[in-house]
Symmetry: C2
Subunit: 518 residues, 2 copies
C-alpha cells in the first residue's frame, strides 16, 4: 500500500487519487459527477465452444476453474445470498490454493464471518485483496492494515455500476446456485439451500468473462424460472452442499424485544402516519433488522386503522412483509433478498412477489431506478452526525465491521429515516462528525431515537407537517447534548494516516477513506 | 447501390464484400467463422437525467423522438410481435416524415404487408433502406431494385448477434408494448393488443442508445412481470391503439385441410416415432403453419399411444401446444411467439409456459443456446435442392417475399425436417439448386413431401433406423425426377447481376445474395 496522493473531496474528506493501481475520482457532491464512456461487455462467445446438447458440467470445481482458464492475478467474484451459511466462496479459494493460484482479487457482493476462512489465503498470497463489504473478521483484518491491497467498499448499486462501467473487470464469476440445470440456468427458489433469488449475482453473470455455476440441486433442463440464464454460463459443477440452510434463511424472523427499540420503531411509524408519508398508494422500504421489522408491524397497524394500502414495498422480505402482501396491504413486493422461509415461499408462489436486482433497484448509472421512487426508506446506522451525515461501515473506534449493502442507494428515497438507538455500549450514536462518511446529510431526512425525532432542517415540509403533533420532535444538537451529558464526549480514537479502504459513492466517486488503526 | 466487389464464398455463392458501407465476411462454411472483439454497450446513463419519481411519459411520439434526439441518418428499430396488426412502426415513420427526418435506416425484427406504408417513406427519402425481413410488398420493392441501400436479411438469432456484436448500432428503439407503466416496464400479457411476449425487442431494449416504449394500456408502477425492463427505457408514450388485435393473434388456430399437407404432417410424425426421435424426454420445435400444426397433432396422438412425454417444446405456441402442456405431454413450453389467444393466456397463467428471446434460444455468439438442444425441428421452405440446401426467402422467380425468422437457427437441432409440398402453383419445390441459399444442406436432415421422404445421406443413423419400415423413403434425386416428369423443368428466371439484398448466416457472415429482377 504505497501511499497514494490524497486530496480533499467535496465532502471535505481526505481520499486517495489512486487505489490498487486504478485512478479514482474524488466525490464531487451529490449529483456532481457525470459518467462518460460506454457500458462494457465480455468477449463475444460462440456456440462452437459449447456442447450442442447443453451439458456444461465439469467433474469438480478444480476442473471448472481450469476449464475457464483461471490464472494468477485474476478477479474472482461470488455473491452473498447464502449469507453466513455460504460454503462456496471458501470452497473457491481453498481450491485455488490447492491449484497454486496466487494474487487473486476477491470481489464478493458481500462477505460474512464464515468467510474468515479467507484470512489464511490473504496471509499465504492466494488472495491479494478484497473489494467488497467485509463484515466482522475480514473487516478487522483490513483495518489492522494486514491486506496487501486496499479494500473498496461499494453499495449494492455501486457494485453493479462498477461492473457495468468497467471499473471492475470480473475474470471468473462463481455463482452458488440452490437449483440449476446442466446448461447453467439457475434459481434460488428450490433446493436445500433455497434463498429466494440471485439478484446480487446477476451483474456477474452478464459481465464476467467466464461464469461457473455451483449447485447442490441439479435438475434436468429447463430449470424454471431461470433467475440466472444458462446462456451466460460456461461451466456447471455439482457439489454435495453449497451451504448451511440454517444460516442462509432463518426459519422465523425475530422482532426486537428491546423496549427502547420498540419505541423507536413506533415513533418512526407514527411519524410516517402523521406527516402523510403513509398515504394511499405510497411505497416503503424496510429491512430485516429487529427495529425495522418492528417498524413494519407498527406501520401495518396504522395502515389498517387508516384504511391505507401501499402500492409496493421494497424488500428484503420477511414473514411480516409477506403477510401484508397476502392481506392486500401491499400491492407488490419488489424484493432484493429473502430473509426467511416465508419470503422464499412467497417469491416462489406469488407472482406479485418479484425478484429484483441492483440493476432495477439501485444502479445509479441507469435510466432511473426504483430507489428514488420509494416514498420512505427506513434504515439503520452505526453513527449519524449533527449535519445528518451517516456512517454504516465503521464503529467509533474506527474498526471496519460492516458493509454498505443497499444503504447508500436507499438514500435516494423521497424520505430517508435512520432508526438508531441513542447509545451503543455507552457510546453515543449521534456525534459531531461521523468516523466514516457513507451518506451525505443532505439525503438523510429524519433521525429517530428513543429520546426523540430529529428532522433535517432542509425538510421544512416535514417540520411543517408535524407542527402541533405530540411526537417528540427535537433539534439534533439538543438530542446530542442530552447524550453527551449522560455519557460524556468519548475520546477520539487514535488513527493513523495510512488508508486501508475507501468508501465509494453510488456514482463511483470516492466518498471517504478508512484508516488503519493501531 | 454502387457495385461492391463480389467474391465466391465457401458455399460457392457470389456475395458482396461491402454492404451499405460496412465490410462483410463471406460465409466460411458451417462452424468456419470465429468472432473476435467484445460485446458492445450503449453509453453509460445516469439517474441525473431521469425523473426521480420514475414518470418518463412524453405527450406524443413526436415529443418522444425529440427527447431522445432523433436525427437524420439514425438507425430506428421496431419489433414484430404485433405481426400484421402492428400500428406502431407506421406511426414512427409517419411521425418522422412530419418532423422532416431523412435517411433513416429501419431495423425491424421483421416487417409485414401492413408495413407497405413505408414505401412512401422510402420513395420520399425519410427511410434510406431496411435491414430486416421484408415479407410481401416491401420484399417486392427491394427485389425491383428500388431501395437506395441494400437489404440485409438475418435470422432472429442473427439479429441478436448483429446487435450484440456491434454490427448494427441502434440509435432509437421504439417498442410497441401491450402493457406498460410510466417507468417503462412493459409486458405483452395484458391489454387490448396482448401478444404474449416481447422477446424480439429485448436486444433492442438492452443495446439501443435510446428506447421509447409506446403503449395503449398504461398501468401504475410496477407493471408485472416486466418482460422489458424500465431501467433500459428513456421515454414512455401513450397512444389510443398500438394495433389491430384481430391481426395480432388469431382467435383460433387453423390446421391445414389439404389432404396432401395432412399426409406430409402424418408422414413426418410417423418418421419421428419410427426412428426413435420421439422418445421419452425428447424435445421438439414446430411452428404455427398449417402443416406443422397438423404435425403436432399427429405427434400428440403417437406420443399418447406410445406413453411418451416431451421434456420441452419450443414455440411459437398455439392452442395445440398449450393443450399438450395441460395434458402433461410436454413438461414446458419455451416460447418465442404466441400465435393465438390460448398461447397468450397460457403464458400469462402457467409458469411452465416461459417467454424466451433470441438470446436464450438462437444467438450463435453466446455460450450455447436452446436451438441445438432440440431433438427435432420441423420447418417449411420455399425450395430445397438435391443437396438438401434450403431456401425460405425467395420464390423460384427470384422475388424476395419472406423473412428468415428463426429458420436458420432451428437448423442446429439434432434433426431438422423440412415439410414441403412437392409443387406450388405447378412449380416443383425440389430443385437442382436453390435460388437463394438460406440453409446449408449439411444441416438439413429430412425432406418430407406427400410423395415420399428423402433422408440426407449423411444421416446414416436415420436411414438405418427406417430400414424395413413401410414409410415411403425415397432418394431425393428420384423424388425430383418424378416432379420434373410431371411439371417439366421450369425455365430459369431471368436475373440481373445487381445485388439488392444479402442473406446473413447465424454467425454474421454473408451466405448468399438476392439479385434485382427485371
Amino acid at each position: 500500500m504505497a501511499g497514494s496522493e490524497l486530496v480533499t473531496n467535496a465532502a471535505g474528506r481526505l481520499v486517495p487519487i489512486e487505489v490498487n493501481g486504478a485512478g479514482q475520482v474524488p466525490f464531487a457532491g451529490v449529483g456532481g459527477h457525470r459518467p462518460s464512456g460506454r457500458k462494457v461487455g465480455p468477449k463475444i462467445a460462440t456456440c462452437l465452444d459449447y456442447p450442442p446438447d447443453g451439458d456444461k458440467r465439469a467433474a469438480s470445481l478444480e476442473e471448472a476453474l481450469k476449464r475457464v482458464g483461471a490464472e494468477d492475478g485474476m478477479v474472482v467474484s461470488t455473491h452473498h445470498h447464502l449469507r453466513n451459511g455460504d460454503a462456496v466462496a471458501n470452497m473457491v479459494f481453498d481450491t485455488a490454493a490447492r491449484m497454486g493460484l496466487r494474487d487473486l482479487m476477491w470481489f464478493p457482493s458481500a462477505s460474512f464471518p464464515v468467510h474468515a476462512n479467507q484470512i489464511q489465503h490473504l496471509e499465504s498470497g492466494v488472495i491479494h485483496h478484497i473489494e467488497g463489504s467485509m463484515n466482522g473478521p475480514l473487516g478487522d483484518y483490513c483495518t489492522a492494515g494486514k491486506m496487501r491491497g486496499m479494500g473498496v467498499l461499494r453499495s449494492h448499486g455501486g457494485r453493479w455500476q462498477a461492473i457495468q462501467d468497467g471499473e471492475v473487470h470480473i475474470d471468473v464469476a462463481v455463482i452458488a446456485a440452490p437449483t440449476a440445470d446442466p446448461f447453467g440456468n439457475a434459481n434460488a427458489l428450490n433446493g436445500p439451500a433455497a434463498c429466494g433469488l440471485l439478484g446480487f449475482a446477476l451483474a456477474d453473470s452478464i459481465y464476467a468473462e467466464k461464469v461457473i455455476v455451483v449447485t447442490d440441486n441439479l435438475v434436468p433442463f429447463p430449470c424454471l424460472p431461470w433467475q440466472i440464464q444458462g446462456n451466460n454460463v460456461d461451466v456447471v459443477v455439482e457439489v454435495p452442499s453449497i451451504g448451511d440452510p440454517s444460516k442462509i434463511v432463518s426459519g422465523t424472523t425475530r422482532v426486537t424485544q428491546s423496549p427502547d427499540r420498540l419505541r423507536i420503531a413506533e415513533l418512526a411509524a407514527r411519524f410516517c402516519a402523521e406527516t402523510g408519508i403513509m398515504h394511499d398508494g405510497f411505497s416503503f422500504q424496510a429491512g430485516a433488522g429487529g427495529t425495522t421489522l418492528a417498524f413494519a408491524i407498527y406501520l401495518r397497524d396504522l395502515m389498517k386503522d387508516a384504511g391505507v394500502t401501499a402500492s409496493f414495498a421494497r424488500g428484503g422480505s420477511t414473514k411480516y412483509m409477506v403477510d401484508m402482501l397476502r392481506e392486500g396491504l401491499i400491492g407488490a413486493i419488489l424484493d432484493g433478498q429473502t430473509f426467511d422461509l416465508d419470503g422464499v415461499t412467497s417469491m416462489r408462489e406469488d407472482p406479485r412477489h418479484v425478484d429484483t436486482s441492483p440493476f432495477t433497484s439501485y444502479n445509479f448509472h441507469g435510466k432511473g431506478n426504483f430507489a428514488s421512487m420509494v416514498d420512505v426508506a427506513v434504515l439503520g446506522a452505526t453513527q449519524v452526525d449533527v449535519d445528518f451525515n451517516g456512517n454504516v461501515v465503521t464503529h467509533s473506534d474506527g474498526r471496519l465491521l460492516h458493509g454498505i449493502g443497499g444503504w447508500q442507494n436507499c438514500l435516494a428515497a423521497k424520505t430517508t429515516m435512520l432508526l438508531v438507538p441513542s447509545f451503543r455500549d455507552r457510546i453515543p450514536v449521534i456525534v459531531d462528525e461521523v468516523t466514516t462518511l457513507c451518506g451525505p446529510g443532505e439525503l438523510i431526512d429524519v433521525v429517530v431515537t428513543e429520546r426523540g425525532i430529529a428532522v433535517n432542517p432542509r425538510r421544512t415540509d416535514l417540520l411543517d407537517a408535524v407542527r402541533g403533533s405530540d411526537l417528540p420532535i427535537r433539534d439534533i444538537h439538543d438530542l446530542k447534548a442530552d447524550l453527551d451529558r449522560i455519557c460524556g464526549i468519548p475520546e477520539t480514537p487514535p488513527r493513523t494516516s495510512d488508508p486501508v479502504a475507501i468508501v465509494k459513492w453510488v456514482d463511483g466517486t470516492v466518498l471517504d477513506t478508512v484508516w488503519r488503526i493501531e
